[in-house]
Symmetry: C2
Subunit: 897 residues, 2 copies
């Protein structure tokens, strides 16, 4: 806040342009001026320039903000003069007067930097209101309540945001007076109550600041602008910029804009409109509005708004005007827009527009449609679809089963199918879902407090609110099934139940939610496996045309392999063999092998396992015909195959004919203090006799069996956990020996070329990749283990500190979700460079969870990896993200030229 | 073996010099020609050149070996001619005839490359012996037995080494015939038995090779030379060179030398002499000999030899000749020599000389003496003492207690004091010492088979053998206490006891061994703490003058700190604080802190711990007055402080007033799958409230308390397990806050400069050391954890595969003993570079086991580390090794110029 006007006299004399106006007639900025006007200011200027009915106003520039801080909180020379000039211009255009009692001009002030940034001051509304204006407006009884309400809002916001009086100080009185007047909601409080409230607010203001609430509108405005500029340097804002490495912004802009009121009279309304349907992507104006209400009332979901179609009947001309506005906006922004509008005394105003959030289904449809209508090209269409979001398209949907019992039907707010038991509070949702229950969060409406519970729930159901309500927006963002405005439902949290049409559904009942139809059903309705829609396939095919990274899948069974192919995987990058030993018939043989004390029973057990392995491999190789299948030899420590429960131990001992005590001793011998860093991977293959031979034999025999059936089988053999070249050299010799012997034994004369490679998952392997490359035909980064070892963090034990690390911004993202570029990424780059230097044609991939995560995929593109491998369901994500990465790289290359 | 002589006709015609003779009169080589003549050949030439009585001979060069292999096993042109010429010269000089029956010349052939290398052929003796020679020698009955014995040895060695007949085939017959003739030892077998044996050996030779034993001495010699050259390319020799990266050698030389016989007649003897005392370093001829015996009999320890002093009486002239030889050798080689000599019919021959193995005490004394006599300079003296060996000087010795019961006194073969229970076989020694018993290996004599058992034992006691016997040499090499030739002892392995002077000592009794006096005592005699001798201190001070690396100690208690200073530590590089919580009064407070469910009991427990910590720090800081003390904040996971045994749990629950079940749940919550990678180190400091504050407060309060007592306290605070700069930033803030607050609270106005640094022990920390350096005043590499994470190997779980890895040469050394230079070393170098680039004056040390290991110290010197820190007992090792590293670096720099 600037001290006094007199302070301003001593600043530098060079007068710059600090203020850019936006009026229909005369607009000084445009959408390209984000750096100077901030995102919001540039957008308002652009809409104005496009001829849309934006309430006129002006923007104080980010340069002014910088100047203000350089001068230790003094307005730069000329700023205030330019502000008052701009205000006069608004008065002329609106035919209203700032501080005038006849046609009072009320203004809002909002901050807005070039990038969205939490921690800064947001909004002060209704500037220009004071005792005189309020009294004047109250003369006509039409607007009396409106004026009182606007005034108390101003004192509250100004006191809170500008003067730093905590919001609760006001809220306390509001609650007290509401109770005294028997009002349940804010809206129910009558004029007398509001007058009482105003007095209370003024008293709080005076006692907290030592001065009465400023009656001079100019003082109000000057202080509000100062508060916006100050908010750039709050500790929270500074911390945010530091943490996110934002160094290229000079300050925030302040946007001053004429207020319009959707709650002024019965001819007023507020609404939200999407230029296309955000759930399905249908190219048709979509939205809703509330008569005689402000914008926040629509979003809050307290009253259920009317669908936008009703506007056609109520105000046909305004409806047409709105449709025209959507066309203008879309053809300019070339994207689906989410706009806020207000109707004030029969006049339409567009307040804000931004790219609209949408479901994945809508995203792919809109992108395809826009290509067809030549609004965007294919690469742009690929870029328009969020890679993570596309996972939603693989959500299951309910079978069209005839027997399902539909309880009621609400608004289809976010597609997908969910089955679970109702929970009625966030705490309940958290506790029960953490305990493993599938939960449907059932609320009359939701707010920010409910977000955590919504996140844990399988689906969300509300009895009020529209498809732009809080619950709907949040659920769509996550791709979580959601039904809102199911008005027949009566929620009774205290009794842990809801009633619907006279029927009671408790927390112990199971319900099913269809977010695509809005249906709420009793019981568990069968779901069907997901597939890719036509639009999604189109986008993914376009992404395939763009990308240079290969996409493979991690799959251990023929079923997974088939699914991976359906989703577009070009091979299997990681086929784990350990899961194959857990089958009922197999685990016993495995256990006998592990516990064998000499050669004979060990060989017998291995011989028993061989045919199982061979059949597994035949199945997978057949499913992937023609595509490479990278088979990783046994990796986990042997104790994972031994029973830990006393009953299981007794059973096993009985079967092996040994005492339980002896079995326990054997098991104890296999115990390790840190199994992650113990005898597993290649260490096991070196120390446990016969395992490698059995597995390689099974692979070679399976390959030969396929070839004899004319199936093109392309196995690759991968050795896990190598940390020294000599480990790989030793095992490669053994593998090659078996690969040579088996065809001779089977009298197979065809060519068998089976590449032999290794995981790079210890830091040492990455650091010595040149040496390791001498014995490896390919590398595959096991980023899970590599992350564990590079950071020294066990993924299993991360729970006790990682949440706090994220909260305290020690790390920005969980390194097990997205590759830690600085540490693990550095090792990957080193290994790629060293490996390629030694062997230019070496194949390099990554497997592990990171293979399906968009930021990690972008990193892989930069690091020069050949392909990523991820779980089958993530394959579409990876295809799309790889497309994005290739497009981004192209852009960089182009801009570098 | 070359095929036939006719093969040799077709090789290249260029004739080079393949043979270098060494005779007193005419010596063609010298000690500098190791590459051409091999180590042994160059040494023989040099001794010859120095005028020592070396049995004459000649060396076939390494070039000849190379040529031989290039021509696929054909002797190079001219080689054999040169050999026959050289043999003729020997005949002339010795007045004997090769294959002659009157004065037969017998020859030996030995391999010898420029570097010692196992896996190659060793020796064939007595070449030139055949039926005719044997018969001629047998005429005089004096030499009959000698001749028969020499002949049977030739057939055995030639058959084994040249023709590849396994030694056992011969040995079997030897055993059979000895039994038949009632002979217990080889020496007891009479002439008749030997004749029988000779016949048997000839039959074996003929049946295995298809040809009779070659009677032509030239054929014998040609084949023996061929066998030596072939042995260069045995698979074992090739593997050895590959593994050790030996690529600069072209082949082995073959040394052909006149045989002399210490067992020829009563005027003959064999002996071993040291130019100085290898146990004490005293500058006096030291050694022993056996009359009418061969050299191997002296070493085998079957008969106890006479001390060298006896020679003075027996053959005074020869004794003087021997003393003269030692002077010549020492002044040439400028080092204490270990020489073998033979007296044949009253003539002295020096067979071999090499630098003598010595105890650490002898090494430091000899080095000091040689500097005083200007044989070497101080730097050379430093280099002469093995760094690891100096640990021996810190071995405890027995108190001079009056009550000790001396059982007997043997030869003081290797100094040091050991107490333990007798074990009589290697197996027993291994089993019992693995079970935790301290063992004294008691044998009549030892051989290569006993080495493993000797290694495991605390000390070695033998009833026969001299101070150059197998047991003595091996024990001295390891610095293990050893008493040999305790002839009053009668060992009875079958009864697991020995008797001495009518008294029986069983495996259950405890005995004490004084390797410095030779005393064997009953019971456990008290030992005194070690100190550094005058000579050792001198060498270490000279090393200090050479070295540039600092040496600090890892010490957690005032006692350790004092010991560290006594041994020359310049500070404490690692003071672990966790051990301070295990004291009886402390562990309960620690447990209450960990299990506290809210703030109050936690704070109370921390308050209780504070004074203990403060007193600990006062003690350590006082002990190290003036030297830096790096205090590491709490590192291990909290569950290490909680009881695992049911009884302890019950006791704790009772004390805390909670149920055992509840306590167990709490303990279970602290369980981690991989504690090494879990919530410990800085993670703990971030998540466990109050611990850091308590520890830092204790450090600051201790520092102030010291300063007030005018003790210069220099603490440094070290944060463990950092993997991200933000962790350190967060904790540094907290530490600085306490460091600021405490002095104010205590009204202390002096300057407190407490550097704050971090361990570098995760790969990520090393990779991002530039970022971390921003918040660190110093780095200390925790090479234990860094090795674990870089290699992905848990030190606790390494037992199941590391032995096999070493055996299979997957790795050459255990990476936990000596730094893995390729992997971990690379990270260290990276971190040093990155850290220094960001902050040139950042202090950099290493702590962890590697800090006291000579190879790792050499690496640290190269990597540019400032200091190493190791356990107090290792400090002298580190000082010396750091001296060596600095000298080596200087040499490199000089030779690079």
């Amino acid at each position: 806040m600037p001290r006094t006007d007199s302070d301003l006299k001593h600043v530098d004399t060079h007068e710059a342009k600090w203020v850019y106006g936006f009026h229909l007639a005369d607009c000084e900025g445009d959408g390209s001026m984000r750096d100077l006007l901030g995102g919001k200011g540039a957008n308002l200027a652009q809409m104005s320039r496009l001829g849309l009915p934006v309430p006129p106003g002006f923007t104080v520039t980010t340069q002014a903000c910088m100047s203000y801080h350089k001068q230790n909180g003094r307005f730069p020379s000329g700023l205030l003069e330019q502000v008052w000039r701009a205000v006069r211009k608004l008065e002329q255009q609106t035919q209203k007067q700032f501080g005038g009692s006849q046609q009072p001009l009320l203004l809002s002030v909002r901050s807005g930097a070039a990038r969205s940034m939490p921690g800064m001051m947001d909004t002060v509304l209704n500037l220009g209101m004071n005792d005189r204006v309020c009294a004047a407006l109250s003369v006509g009884s039409d607007h009396r309540r409106f004026a009182l309400d606007a005034y108390r809002r101003l004192i509250n916001m100004f006191g809170d945001v500008v003067m730093g009086i905590e919001h609760d100080a006001f809220e306390e009185h509001f609650d007290r007076i509401k109770t005294a007047h028997g009002a349940l909601t804010d809206a129910e409080l009558g004029e007398e109550g509001l007058i009482e409230l105003l007095d209370a607010y003024k008293r709080i203001f005076a006692s907290r600041t030592g001065k009465p609430f400023p009656q001079n509108p100019r003082v109000q405005l000057r202080h509000a602008i100062g508060a916006v500029l100050n908010s750039w340097n709050t500790p929270r804002a500074i911390a945010y910029r530091e943490i996110h490495g934002i160094t290229d912004l000079v300050g925030t802009a302040a946007n001053v804009q004429t207020m319009v009121f959707g709650n002024l009279d019965p001819d007023s309304a507020s609404g939200v409109g999407f230029t296309r349907n955000p759930a399905t992507g249908e190219n048709k104006l979509f939205g809703e509005y509330l008569r005689q209400a402000q914008g926040e009332d629509v979003v809050a979901g307290i009253r259920t708004p009317e669908p936008i179609g009703n506007l056609k009947k109520w105000k046909s001309r305004l409806y047409q005007e709105l449709v025209r506005a959507t066309r203008v906006l879309e053809s300019h922004f070339r994207d689906m827009q989410d706009m806020e509008f207000t109707i004030e005394q029969g006049r339409l105003f567009v307040l804000q527009t931004r790219s609209g959030k949408r479901t994945a289904a809508a995203a792919v449809r809109i992108a395809c449609d826009m290509v067809r209508h030549r609004l965007i090209d294919r690469r742009e269409a690929v870029n328009r679809v969020d890679a993570t979001q596309i996972m939603q398209l693989l959500l299951p949907s309910f079978d069209p089963s005839p027997g399902k019992e539909v309880l009621t039907c609400g608004l289809a707010a976010s597609p997908g199918a969910a089955t679970g038991k109702p929970a009625f509070t966030v705490d309940e949702a958290l506790t029960r879902s953490n305990a493993g229950e599938s939960i449907i969060l059932v609320r009359s409406q939701t707010s920010a407090d409910d977000v955590q519970g919504m996140h844990q729930a399988s689906g969300v159901l509300t009895s009020t609110g529209g498809i732009t309500s809080h619950a709907a927006v949040v659920a769509r963002g996550w791709g979580k099934p959601c039904v809102v405005g199911a008005e027949q439902i009566h929620v009774e949290p205290a009794r842990r139940r809801f009633t619907v049409n006279g029927r009671s559904v408790t927390w112990q009942d199971t319900i099913s939610l269809d977010g695509a139809s809005g249906e709420v059903m009793l019981g568990s309705v069968p779901m069907s496996a997901p597939g890719l829609s036509h639009h999604a396939s189109t986008i993914l095919n376009w992404a395939d045309d763009c990308r240079t990274l290969g996409v493979r899948a991690n799959a251990d069974t023929p079923d997974d392999a088939r699914r991976a192919r359906e989703f577009g995987a070009e091979g299997i990058g990681l086929c784990r063999t350990e899961h194959m030993f857990f089958g009922e018939e197999r685990i016993r043989a495995m256990q006998r092998m592990i516990l064998a004390e000499d050669e004979k029973p060990r060989v017998a057990a291995l011989d028993e396992l061989l045919p199982f392995q061979r059949e597994d491999f035949i199945g997978i190789l057949s499913a992937m015909r023609g595509c490479p299948v990278t088979i990783r030899l046994l990796d986990p420590p042997l104790h994972e195959f031994l029973p830990t429960e006393a009953d299981d131990q007794r059973e096993l001992a009985l079967e092996l004919g040994i005492s339980v005590a002896k079995l326990r001793r054997s098991i104890a011998q296999h115990h390790e203090a840190n199994p992650m860093l113990g005898n597993r991977g290649c260490r096991l293959l070196i120390t446990a006799p016969g395992v490698l031979e059995m597995q390689v034999r099974a692979i070679v025999e399976a390959t030969i069996a396929c070839r004899r059936k004319r199936i093109a089988a392309r196995p690759q053999i991968m050795v896990p956990l190598v940390c020294h070249e000599n480990e790989l050299r030793l095992l490669r010799d053994q593998i090659e020996r078996v690969v040579e012997q088996v065809p001779r034994a089977l009298r197979f004369s065809g060519q068998l070329e089976i590449p032999i490679g290794t995981m790079i998952e210890t830091p040492r392997a990455a650091l010595t990749a040149d040496r390791i490359a001498r014995c490896a035909d390919f590398f595959s980064f096991g980023t899970n283990d590599l992350t564990q070892m590079t950071l020294g963090i066990s993924r299993d034990d991360v729970g006790s500190f990682m949440p706090l690390y994220l909260e305290k911004h020690v790390v920005d993202t969980d390194p097990f979700s997205s590759i830690d570029v600085q540490g693990v990424g550095q090792l990957i780059k080193t290994a790629v460079d060293l490996g390629r230097r030694r062997k230019p044609d070496i194949g390099i991939g990554i497997c592990g969870e990171h293979g399906g995560e968009p930021n990690s995929i972008r990193f892989c593109q930069e690091a020069g990896v050949d392909y990523v491998s991820c779980s089958p369901f993530r394959v579409p994500v990876a295809r799309l993200a790889a497309g994005h990465a290739a497009i981004a790289k192209d852009k960089e290359r182009t801009s570098a030229k």
